[in-house]
């Protein structure tokens, strides 16, 4: 039963997240909140199915690291691209006051890109943490590193 809920919950959480991002500028919520929502859904899956089970149920989770790094890079781009245009970072296009095309309540302009970056990173990182903290001891038995004498302090 809990398993079902877990599976069922994961999809809708994405919708909620999307909504949070889209409305972000006008209502409560932002990329971070959206990310956490998704992760909580994942966490629920973990609780329900256990780490291995959850990762079997949601195989795409293993891309979390790429997601995290990609998110940061996206955010960096969204923040610093104006340098190429000779403007200070975080100048957004369309600029203040200028007209912004909207799809529904989603305004199509660079801060949204930034927010998406945040969202991706949060999902990625928190999933990674979840993955590690879920069964932390799986590799902890072995020492952290290979033996390595050169340069060892006497």
């Amino acid at each position: 039963m809990l398993r079902e809920v877990a599976r069922l919950v994961w999809g809708p959480s994405l919708v909620v997240a999307a909504d949070l991002i889209v409305k972000g500028y006008n209502e409560v919520g932002d990329g971070f909140a959206a990310g956490v929502v998704v992760v909580l859904a994942t966490a629920l899956t973990y609780v329900a199915l256990g780490a291995s089970g959850a990762e079997r149920a949601l195989p795409f989770l293993r891309h979390a690291p790429k997601l995290a790094v990609g998110g940061l890079l996206l955010a960096l781009v969204a923040g610093f691209f104006p340098l190429l245009l000779g403007e200070p970072p975080f100048s957004h296009r369309p600029g203040p006051g200028a007209h912004v095309a909207t799809v529904g309540s989603l305004e199509l302009f660079t801060p949204v890109l930034f927010d998406v970056g945040v969202f991706l990173l949060v999902v990625g990182v928190l999933t990674v943490m979840l993955h590690h903290l879920a069964d932390p001891d799986s590799e902890a038995g072995t020492p952290l590193d290979e033996p390595h004498d050169a340069g060892e302090r006497a």
Binding site: N26, E27, V28, D30, F32, M129, H132, L133, P136, D137, A140, G141
Partner: protein, 128 residues
């Protein structure tokens, strides 16, 4: 309210400090968590105005100061991050210090100290 917030912060911080001084490392982490809450409360308490939520505010009524809110958002995330890291660290410490047997460990410490003692003695004799 000033006094109330100050008191709350004091309790949060004091208890956090107390937990930091415990020997159970999980309590230490709890202490950090409490102290981070103390910081968040301080930020909110540092709002210069309180009133309606700063979402398309009605200029006629007072608005809650948005700046501390933004700062708290950032602070909360950072708190979460550091807390997770600290937990992982604590876990690692516990595992390692449990797998390496206690006496072996203390032995290592004392052995280090013993190894240093003659060195220091030689230093003293040598310099004088």
């Amino acid at each position: 309210m000033i006094l109330a917030f100050a008191l709350a912060v004091a309790v949060l911080f004091g208890s956090g400090a107390y937990l930091l001084l415990q020997r159970d490392l999980l309590r230490v982490v709890g202490g950090i968590a409490l102290i981070s809450q103390a910081a968040a409360v301080t930020l909110i308490a540092a709002s210069l105005t309180r009133g309606q939520a700063p979402i398309a505010p009605d200029p006629s009524r007072p608005v809650s100061d948005p700046v501390p809110q933004a700062l708290v958002l950032t602070a909360l995330v950072i708190g979460l991050a550091t807390l997770a890291l600290l937990l992982a660290l604590v876990h690692r410490v516990v595992v390692v210090f449990r797998t390496t047997r206690r006496e072996a460990l203390t032995a290592e410490e004392t052995e280090r100290a013993h190894a240093l003692e003659p060195e220091q003695q030689r230093d003293r004799d040598e310099a004088t």
